[in-house]
């Protein structure tokens, strides 16, 4: 990586050589010029909001301040308030638990579909790909609404089918009312929407594995599972890491699906995840200071996850 910035004539830094008169480093203009556009966009769209949020998290910022009243500095009050609030920890714990379940399911099912695609003929593989793409391209709000209809208490497909097949009366049974039911349906929606990406990426990775290696393993007597575990997985290890970290981040910050599903039914207090909790605190109740503090704690957690991901990819590139 670092060699990119230095001149090609200069010897690599690691090689020990007698100290030469230090040449003044020229600022590499072209790379920076090329970077400037993205730095500007990131600075305006991501940098400024993050700084603003950080500032707001140390202020008492309510609706009146939105309209231009000067905001009062309150130090770490917002942070103390949320870190001592059991509701915040409940929401955070719930979000993490949900994330873990969703990530495991997404990875397992996505990988299975990728393996399936490797075995399929051309026509069927195209069919599966189109199906996956459709699920992938569905806007989350639309898909949540449709899943909501499927599980509708009064007129839903699921209750209708259950009534027809069990002979018992399922109309009026609410699937969302019980938090466990709510999160089961939410998991359906999220996992269903996340599988295509995992499946495609895994398929791309798995299909790059040289056939000879697998053949050799087979000749050596490795069964299908052993081949997958001992040969295929090590080949795609980096891809799996990236997918897991990305999925963790996506599933932790999930918002539209939860927000829309809460609108359809269920107990908000028992089903809040961190995304909607921040929204309710800020936009809903107008406590922008507190909401910013929660958001910042959340950003810190996400950064920890991302740093692992970034370091990992850096390492892989160095290899």
């Amino acid at each position: 990586m670092s060699s990119l910035a230095t001149e090609p004539a200069a010897p690599p830094a690691s090689v020990s050589s007698p100290p030469r008169p230090r040449r003044r480093r020229r600022l590499p203009t072209v790379p920076w010029l090329l970077l400037s556009a993205s730095i500007l966009i990131l600075g305006v769209l991501t940098g400024y909001p993050v700084v603003r949020m950080l500032v707001m998290s140390f202020q008492e910022y309510e609706r009146a301040q939105v309209m231009g009243m000067p905001a009062e500095w309150v130090g770490f009050d917002n942070y103390t308030a949320i870190l001592t609030d059991s509701a915040f920890w409940a929401v955070l714990g719930r979000s993490i638990l949900f994330m873990l379940v969703a990530v495991v399911l997404t990875m397992v099912l996505g990988t299975l579909i990728a393996l399936l695609m490797m075995r399929l003929g051309k026509g069927l593989r195209l069919l599966v790909s189109v199906g996956l793409l459709l699920a992938w391209s569905m806007p989350p709000l639309s898909s949540t609404t449709i899943w909501g209809w499927i599980f509708d208490t009064q007129y839903g497909l699921v209750n209708n089918l259950l009534t027809r097949f069990t002979g018992e009366r399922w109309f009026g049974h609410s699937w969302l009312l019980d938090p466990l039911g709510f999160f089961t349906i939410l998991t359906f929606i999220i996992v269903w929407g996340a599988i295509p990406f995992v499946a495609f990426t895994m398929y791309a990775g798995l299909s790059q594995i040289p056939g000879e290696v697998l053949e050799a393993a087979q000749l050596d007597g490795a069964g299908a599972f052993a081949r997958f575990r001992l040969v295929m997985l090590p080949y795609v290890r980096t891809i799996v890491t990236v997918l897991v970290v990305l999925s963790m981040i996506w599933d932790l910050k999930v918002f539209p699906q939860v927000y829309a599903l809460q609108d359809i039914g269920g107990d908000r207090q028992k089903t809040n995840t961190i995304g909607v909790y921040i929204y309710q605190m800020g936009m809903g109740q107008g406590h922008f200071g507190t909401a910013s503090a929660i958001a910042f704690v959340f950003v810190a957690i996400m950064l920890l996850l991302s740093i692992y991901y970034v370091r990992r990819t850096m390492k892989e590139e160095e290899l």
């Binding site: 609404t145 908000r268 809903g284």
Partner: protein, 429 residues
Amino acid sequence: MRKNRLVAVTAAASMTLAMGACASGADAADDGGPSTGEVRVWLVGTDTPDEARDYLKTTFEEQNEGSTLVIEEQSWDGLVDKYTTALAGSDAPDVVEVGNTQASAFTSNGYFSEITADEFEELGGSDLLPGFVEAGDWEGAHYALPYYAGSRAVFYSPQLVDGEPPATLDEYVDAAKDMYKKGKFSGMWWPGQDWYNALPFIWENGGYIAEPADDGSWEAGFSTPGGIAGLTQIQDLMLNASNAPADGQETDLQVPFCEGKIGYLSAPTWIQWSINAPEEPESDDGVPGCGSTYGGDLEAFALPGKDGGAAQVFAGGSNIAIAKKSEQRDLAYSALKIMLSDEYQSIIAGIGLIPAKVSLSGDVPQENSIGAAGVEAAAGAKLTPATPKWADVEAQNVLQTQFTRLANGDDVEQVAADIDSQIESILNG
């Protein structure tokens, strides 16, 4: 009120985008703003009839040569969230409708332009609905004025319900439970999230939502003996008289009613237009009703009180205000004046809403039982606690969530304690 929510939100969003470009052309306001321009009026939900919308647009454009008026429909869902940011932005609308219980969240934080005493007199003064004027006041000044009041009545079809309307609240409960025993039939319809219909039971039994204590803090009253009695009655009805979904919302009530499976339906009076609409909607965005069956002979009565007479019901309705950030206050005021004119308010009264002016209440059609029931119920109407923080209770869906628990069979006293502690923590927070 919330039907076709998704469509409405999408439409509103795209309209906002489209209009944003035009509105920003207006010059910055130094005093009353430019003399011509485009005024954007935000109406919420579908309550305002098309006739009134057309009247507003035509009259405004006649009176203000060269100016145009655009109505952008908003959705009740998430309204407080939306206004919090939209009214603070540089692209704020000029005139906005807001729920009467939500108004103080904005009046107290400087979101609305003050209506001077002279303007107040010109717009109707003491003829304006007093409770709604109060809801739009802040620290002695007027900010949001009454727009209309909704009113609730209990609807039924004589094809399904026999006999006279009940005379007391207890008779009403018993009648609904008796009908439920027929099987596959809801004596009354009570989706779990419906808290508007629950309040009369709390008030009639002597409970209250929240009242100011001596030290100025708010004290919630669902755990008082009256509150518990009310909640017990509510749960009894939810479990033993209603087949509505325990976590359902009070939306599209005409659908279950038209199935012929509901005895009593307590709802805003405008629901009659959805119920007795034709089965095949006349327009593309129309909603099918059942005008030829159960909607054809619709009757209504005011919810009876504990000791007879009309019960104290929740006074829902809307206020109307000029956004502080409106860049053309003079034009916005001229639109507001039309919306509070006798002609405009008579159109509002014509569909069964209670007009913003007391002197026009006679314009609400009284020839059938529905109009009469609406006016009778409005007389005993009550409001939610008068504090800007109440909007946060609504925005957090505290009551919706807790009533859902009741409908699910949770312990009444536990639910009451939870409601009280949540309301107190928000109002005193």
